[in-house]
Symmetry: D3
Subunit: 173 residues, 6 copies
């Protein structure tokens, strides 16, 4: 397979789940080096963004280390939101070193880079995997099992962060 | 008809439609000069604000030029949002030169200026025309015809901006 | 009853109602001095935050003065929102002098302080009293009576601020 | 002496000094009730703003309590900065309940309220007293005595906050 | 002379002076249509930005009308500052409709567009004309004559805005 | 030498120089894992912050790779500024996973963590090395040699970014 020199995968990882792991491995196979953009890094403790950037960095690192992914091949870069989505791609260029292709499964992310004339690749996920983060958060709130949707090491971290309790408190606000 | 010296019409123009055209002509008949305040100018590529200020300026200018409105009689001024609506009228005064009256069909806009003791005129639109922008955005998402709700020149611009595709991507986010 | 030296009670007071009065008196009984943190002080004229901080300060002061609460025992401190809730507790420490305990009936507020290792006390309100502010705002919009939910002096202030009309305009936006 | 109903005194209090005490007593003599606006409440740990709002509130309260000023006659209200000074007077109105007159010795503060048509009174301070805060901060940096410029209780608080050390670290940045 | 279709001239106009008039006419000769970007539109009442965007719009319009410039050939667009200059060119593209060339005499403005691969033209001003705004502001503060540096209509507006007094108050802050 | 589990080194790296390299190696010797916090990541193209976060990440990575530092031992994390320095340590905790010690040679950075009760270590640099970034930027502006102050790979990157020209344009603004 022909490889891109430097790829960028963007996600919010709220929390990091098996769909993310598949997507990152998909992107890693197609890139010599992969930047993992951690979106909405300035958000936390709210319904759609329960975990801090620090916690999400730990999740990603634990999952990739467990999987034995070579640490010389990737780098996590937190990316804060911008007031207007139109400014966001420029914000990304300000923080992430030069990249040749963007991997994502979020339609708006892909669209924003397309409008900039940047090459994009939609990671082939089933609808269910795309919506996994929402599903997991709802299960946490309702006390249903969610551990099978995430790598084992991520499950342990969420437990350490007392993530279920936090989700429930946020939801009752 | 007695005329105000300088009127201000405020709208978000997401997108510019026939109701806006009627309202601006209504305001122009009652003002020697009209400032057209482009609200939420700092927002774009989101559900309620799909178009950039730049794109909306092109829409307004094209529609008024097509209509043969004298360019010496109006000026577009982009107005960004403020954290609190209470600060917004002051923000308007910071950016828009002195005006004598505010035209709008948005209840909150009118209310905010009333609380400041500024004269306001509610443009007489039917409920349907007030909600036209929402209707157009929904039709774009669902692939229904929307071109009859906007001036012809605006329809061409939205096509040039690939507006339908953008709306659909934003909606699937 | 053993008393804390300095307590902090946090609320948004949109508007100030009988549940707030009960909670503040509950906190005052347990504190030698009480800081009353006025949350979302930077918000106004929107659905969940119709009143300015200035108006809310008047409401609190009027209610406590009417009740004959000793003015040497409490102080109101407006606290603006932060981008991330995670930063909010630190913002509170930046504006509110040293306190020993936090009183609240908002689950997220309590949770945020718990994560910081700060002592918290949940004020024992019935569910109905917790949701009173939402109920009052809905009644204002729908023209139903709401005056019995607030102290008399607060009812007079809301009338002076023309609060019902403002709520209706915000709601029709 | 004829008294205003509600006065507003604005200062940054970095730190609170004898000039501030004189000015507040001057304003209290002319007002039935005095709001003490704590400017730049969102700034701290920088050269011109070394102390947090929380620390400055403690200073003001300690100084006025020591002086025996009636706590029913005044209220401290923190006021954050705005991007543009033009918006600042509106921000003040959003947070401070209705006032009839503004006391200050800062030319720009007075000017901003004059442009709004609000009555202002320049507190008659000697040039030296106006510049006292700058003088105190410089003395802290250079290890010179500064305690005589501030009320005794404020001196104790600054010592408790380890203010001299903080000033020196900020300055060496 | 070959003409660009749509040019953009950017300045802060604090205040609008004869150098600006020369530069705009220079750009108008080379463009079928000219966008006049009003920089730092979110700033006012500070040393380097004493006038509001509203006041600066009045200045530009008065000067161009006096000069008899065809109103169909230009449009003023206020542009707020961004946190990072790197994001600023994208902000410009968000607010200003498509342009082919940028005219300016500010080295950083030109540099930022060069880094984006956009064509730029440095307006040939003498050093003195580039620094005219600073010179005028200093003269206002020191009570020296400055009227010869600005178009007559602008001089009248600055007088109407009481600009000299404002400059002096800002400077004494 | 006893090692900390997770250290944090904070710098702005404008640009990355030999003093930074020494400090990072000093911190790496004392930590099993080192987070390299890239301060003022939201700033660029200004006098004290000429380079984007993206460019600075490239510099750090190139220098450490050249030096043969094990990529499993460190991670770069961009940290944006906060309005108040008081909030900054909390922002750091929001983005950087748990750390046991902070290395820095900036007095304010160290002071802020000391006030939080976090262990700090001042890296033993000579005064000249602490001020190296300022020196390099001044040399770039004045066309003097600066390459000996930075690792070779960083020199090449600055040339690729056309850093000297950018510095000169920023300076002439």
């Amino acid at each position: 397979m022909m490889k891109y020199k430097r790829g960028l995968f963007v996600g919010r990882f709220q929390p990091f789940h098996n769909g993310h792991l598949f997507a990152i491995e998909y992107a890693l196979e197609r890139s010599e080096f992969l930047y993992i953009g951690l979106g909405s890094s300035n958000k936390s403790h709210e319904e759609r963004n329960p975990f801090t950037a620090a916690e999400r960095i730990e999740m990603i690192k634990a999952a990739l280390d467990d999987r034995g992914v070579d640490p010389r091949k990737w780098m996590i870069i937190p990316i804060p939101d911008t007031t207007s989505h139109f400014l966001w791609t420029k914000m990304v260029k300000m923080i992430v070193p030069k990249f040749d292709v963007v991997f994502s499964n979020d339609p708006l992310t892909l669209r924003l880079f397309v409008e900039e004339g940047i090459e994009t690749i939609e990671v082939p996920l089933r609808e269910r995997e795309k919506l996994m983060a929402t599903e997991i958060r709802n299960r946490m709130i309702n006390g249903l099992p969610w551990q099978d949707f995430v790598p084992k090491s991520v499950g342990r971290l969420i437990k350490k962060f007392d993530g279920e309790e936090r989700m429930r408190k946020i939801n009752r606000m």
